[in-house]
Symmetry: C2
């Protein structure tokens, strides 16, 4: 039904899914990479760099901001977006715990 039954999963599983979903669109991946690269950015820049319309970029930025992965501060008439280092590190910890799982029983079945 397009609705995810989050209540039947653990907090950790939902957290992984929430972060992963944010990275599940190449525009957001590209935005984050650009923010890492120049370590400061205004939305206008991104519209040119990414190649999507301004409202679309703004929407993607909002999602990343709501998740806490980026933060924005007003710089005159534009807004300076950048990576939120602490939250990025926290997200990495969650994701790495998931990605770095090891097979407990080394003899693979198939």
């Amino acid at each position: 039904m397009g609705i995810t039954k989050t209540e039947i999963f653990t907090d950790q599983q939902n957290q992984v899914a929430t972060f992963a979903k944010a990275f599940g669109h190449p525009a957001r991946v590209a935005i984050l990479q650009h923010l890492f690269k120049i370590n400061a950015c205004i939305c206008g820049d991104l519209v040119e760099v990414i190649g999507l319309a301004q409202p679309t970029i703004s929407q993607h930025l909002k999602e990343l901001k709501n998740l806490g992965l980026i933060k924005g501060s007003i710089e005159g008439t534009s807004i300076c977006y950048c990576i939120h280092p602490e939250n990025w590190a926290a997200m990495k910890a969650v994701m790495n715990q998931f990605l770095n799982q090891d097979l407990e029983n080394k003899t693979n079945c198939c």
Copy 2:
């Protein structure tokens, strides 16, 4: 429009997004964690463990299989699904390259 403009992004960006999208649902996170834990599984098990209907689990398994993250082999009347170690490692390399980005300019702007 619900359609992603993949053609304006790099292969790497699309790869990250594709893998991340797979992890963007807690059911698939839970499935993978369970496969890691017991290192062998049949779909029926998962239906009980996860708590979603059999067709829904089957659908999630199909997505993970199409991505190559898991593989399944026929075991009599059931199917043995398990992690695809090589492809999992390859996925991890792609994701880590993205997650482990560092701020080139250490003086954060905001």
